[in-house]
């Protein structure tokens, strides 16, 4: 008996870190953000990098170490506002873990790509870490009130990141983005309060607990109006057509790290909220409205791709491509089957990585050195000679964005399309045409930026001196940029070549949802 027990206790003592440690992503990030307010500017970027790396490491360990990815299992649960039933309740399943992973990944590379921020660095990284920490919080919340608190926490940091450190019409872009976010938040809040007062049968705790609400039957006529309100509220942040217009202007105006966070994480907050809250709680409302979501998703894919084809500004091209790719997420969610929804989550991961890489190349590598994002001007610069590494990164990112097999974009989009084929065959046909457009505008941007052969001697924007004062220092791609880009390229390749390690965690979580159609 004694010997029979020993190995077990020995195994426990050597056991890998508990799954509950994923909650530390939130604490580490917010803790570092608070510390930043008291640190001198010189140390700020190191502190931010440390926090982002710690968050990434924790989410990585949590991701590979997850025991039960199929259930939305509680990590920590404490009473918070007893009088009204709010709890500090965190939980995670495969979907949350995947989203935490892409958050960590994007955060690390965003910090690396803002290594050269010299204006008010402590403040910059403070806001940046607030966005990251709030996002971790949203992905891990199992209490509706807590989720919304984290969700709204992200809004104001975005405004300051863009309005202070941005470029090109930054105050307009920042305000537009912030108001859209707040508008979405207000719609979502109506839905959340309606849930709060309807569910639970007098037990306020049960009325906010996502685990219990996922089993609760709301009256069908209630679902019929509450679902679209709640879904649209979240989907604003996911860039649903026609409420997507904040995305391109916001992305263009934002500083590089801001665009990376916006496209990489913030748009996923919306999609995640739509999945975790509105679809999970209102299955019947979802089934009533799902075809309209599919329609809006497909319009988003095709429309944004067509608009991207006509843009002159490189960042606008990427901004619209983000809307187009998020259209795939919405289409995937609307299919309501395992492959479609699983593909949507995979696409959330994939697009996070790809968009971050695209914005890093366009905003940091190219714009920081050439001071222009105008495609015609860029095409005269022969950038593939001066910046081979940037060209290489952009080729990888474009290939992934177009959905070339072997990259994450392909794995995600093909999964979504297979799922959609069962639910909406028409949508697949239209989307197929849209994908051609995606390839077209991506290739156009790639060619004009790096591979144009127009015989021209422009090295800089017209009217500028041919070489910047600090050109020598600037011309080299810095180590921070190489690390950041390398990390993202590795991620998109890894997810493309071996998507199974993601799908193994996503699909069980999707299969546990009650609203799936066969």
């Amino acid at each position: 008996m004694l010997f029979g027990e020993l190995p077990k206790s020995a195994r426990e003592s050597r056991a890998l870190p508990k799954p509950s440690m994923i909650a530390w992503t939130i604490y580490v990030t917010f803790g570092a953000a608070l510390l930043l307010l008291f640190l001198p500017g010189l140390l700020a970027r190191w502190m931010a990098l440390l926090a982002a790396l710690a968050g990434f490491a924790i989410s990585l360990i949590g991701f590979f170490n997850a025991a039960d990815v199929g259930t939305f299992a509680t990590i920590i649960r404490l009473p918070w506002i007893r009088a009204l039933g709010m709890e500090y309740h965190l939980a995670a399943d495969g979907i949350s873990l995947t989203m935490c992973l892409v958050t960590g990944l994007t955060a690390v590379s965003a910090v690396l790509f803002s290594w050269d921020v010299e204006e008010r660095p402590s403040e910059f990284f403070f806001w940046l870490l607030l966005v990251v920490g709030g996002s971790y919080g949203v992905f891990l919340s199992a209490d509706l009130f807590l989720l919304f608190v984290f969700y709204e926490l992200v809004i104001v940091p975005k405004y300051f990141l863009i309005a202070i450190w941005g470029s090109t019409n930054k105050e307009y872009g920042a305000m537009k983005l912030t108001l859209y976010s707040f508008f979405g938040g207000a719609l979502a809040l109506i839905g959340i309060i309606a849930i709060y007062v309807t569910a639970g049968g007098g037990d306020a705790t049960a009325a906010l607990d996502l685990q219990q609400l996922a089993q609760y039957q709301f009256p069908p006529q209630f679902q019929a109006w509450a679902f679209p309100v709640l879904f649209l509220g979240f989907a604003v942040l996911a860039g649903i057509w026609p409420l997507h217009t904040w995305a391109p202007t916001g992305h263009v105006a934002a500083p590089t790290a801001g665009s990376m966070l916006l496209a990489g994480i913030v748009m996923k907050l919306g999609a995640y909220g739509a999945l975790r809250v509105s679809m999970n709680l209102f299955p019947e409302g979802f089934h009533i409205w799902s075809k309209w979501i599919a329609v809006l998703g497909v319009i988003g894919i095709v429309y944004a791709a067509a608009v991207a084809f006509r843009q002159r500004d490189l960042k606008f091209v990427i901004g619209y491509s983000s809307v187009s790719h998020m259209g795939f997420v919405l289409l995937g969610l609307a299919t309501a089957n395992v492959l479609g929804v699983g593909g949507a989550v995979l696409q959330m991961f994939s697009h996070g990585v790809i968009a971050a890489l695209l914005f890093a190349v366009a905003g940091r590598m190219v714009y920081r050195r050439t001071h222009t994002r105008d495609l015609e001007t860029l095409s005269g610069m022969r950038l593939r000679h001066t910046m081979p590494f940037a060209a290489f990164s952009f080729v990888i990112a474009s290939a992934a964005s177009m959905g070339i097999p072997g990259f994450s974009g392909f794995a995600a989009e093909i999964t979504i399309l297979i799922g959609a084929w069962k639910a909406y065959p028409m949508a697949v046909l239209v989307t197929g045409a849209g994908m051609v457009l995606v390839a077209a505008f991506t290739l156009r941007a790639l060619k004009k930026t790096f591979f144009a052969d127009s015989p021209s001697d422009i090295h800089m924007q017209p009217g500028r001196p041919p070489v910047d004062a600090d050109w020598d220092e600037q011309s080299q791609i810095s180590a921070a940029e190489k690390w950041g880009a390398g990390l993202l390229m590795f991620a998109t390749l890894a997810a493309g070549v071996y998507p199974k390690f993601l799908l193994d965690r996503i699909l069980p979580a999707v299969e546990a949802m009650r609203w799936l159609k066969p």
Partner: protein, 482 residues
Amino acid sequence: MNYLELLRLAAPEAVIVVTALVVLALGLMSGRTSGLCSGVAAAGLLFAVSAVLLLPDQATLFDGMLVITPLTSLFKMICLALAFFTVILARGNGAFPNHGEYLALLLLATIGLMLLVGSEELLVIFIGLELTGLSLYIMAGFDKTDVRSAEAGLKYFLFGSTASAFTLFGISLIYGMTGTTSLVAIGAKLGTLTPLLAAGIVMTLIGFAFKIAAAPFHLWAPDAYQGAPIPSAAFIASASKVASFVVLGKIVLVGFGPAQGAAGWQAVIAGWAPLLAALAALSILLGNLVALAQSNVRRLLAYSAVAHAGYTLLGLVAGGREGLSATLFYTTVYAFTLVGAFAVVALVRRETGGDDFFHFSALRSRSPLLAGCMAVFMLSLAGLPPLAGFFGKFYLFAAALRVGGNQGLLWLVALALFGSLISFYYYLMVLKVIFVDKTANPVPLLKLDFLQRSSIVVLAGIVLYFGIFPGGFVQQITSSLP
């Protein structure tokens, strides 16, 4: 009943009366006594808080003229705390030659507020209203060197006295129909809604709509907020509003309880609820839309105060315990936020000589602490988590949606959220000026002394604390409601 008993139960008020007289006398003495006056006034307020803590849990005098319950004690303390912060704010202002008089008026107004909070009898309530009102009229016009201050005082006085006349007339009608001025007795005697009763209710409510600056009785607010000395404006906007909401809640829910009616969409039943709902809707729309066009921070706060009065009314429209407690939570939190915002405005005004938007530009580089605290206050007013304003709104909207069980008040909640969206824009514009804009000529750092710094930090801390841990305060309010 003997007079000792009365003195025991009215001890906090008595303490303030004595303090007011002492401060007045000190102010009359020659020499620079303004610091001493502030010290005595602050000490008196703290002493009164401890006197409130010593009050019994439940007591009633003269058929409800003076009522002591946990609720009245709680809100007496809140009024005293707000008066305390106002005294600190007035000290920094220090511009008045006769500071003692000013503080004595402030203390008298505080007594009026405590009477309002602690009475369930219409006559005493009216006396409280008048005592507060008269003191505040003088406080608004106290800066004799400033034309705007005189304008503020005069406008506030004219509107205020008209509104009081309406209220008094309303009270007399109610008295004529029921034969009593005690709220509980009125509630027991009121029957169905007759035209005369309706007239009485409407007239009574007008006076309170004026006090809380709800549209269309808000016209005094912009000029009073902008022109009055800042401590007066802060006190008018905070403590006076809190006490008015407490007493308004008591009047409508206890006194007029049977005539509540309902304000649901396409399910309106005549009563005071649809009336308050209309006031709320109008206030939210008008306050927010007009605030958009302001370029003066104090005027902006005034119009936003109109909108906030509208949000706060939502809880009363919903009625019941939950509605009342949501209203009380929101108005308290709002009061502390606004005193903080006015404290920041006062300091900026002292350094730059004005409170238009451009006076705040690049405040961040001049005083990071002030800028950070202003961000806390503005974002709480806008209703963003994790600040108190967000939880307050959530609580109010939940109370409003819960009523009747069929989301009948959804229209009002949606309107309020639309209003918050608008308000978010103009609060963000203030923060944009502070954090994003750059000034052409660098202005030296604002110098704050210990008391100013700590009072603003404490206020910001309160707003943050009530946002993250509102549970305790909510529990306190709900458990003290009957």
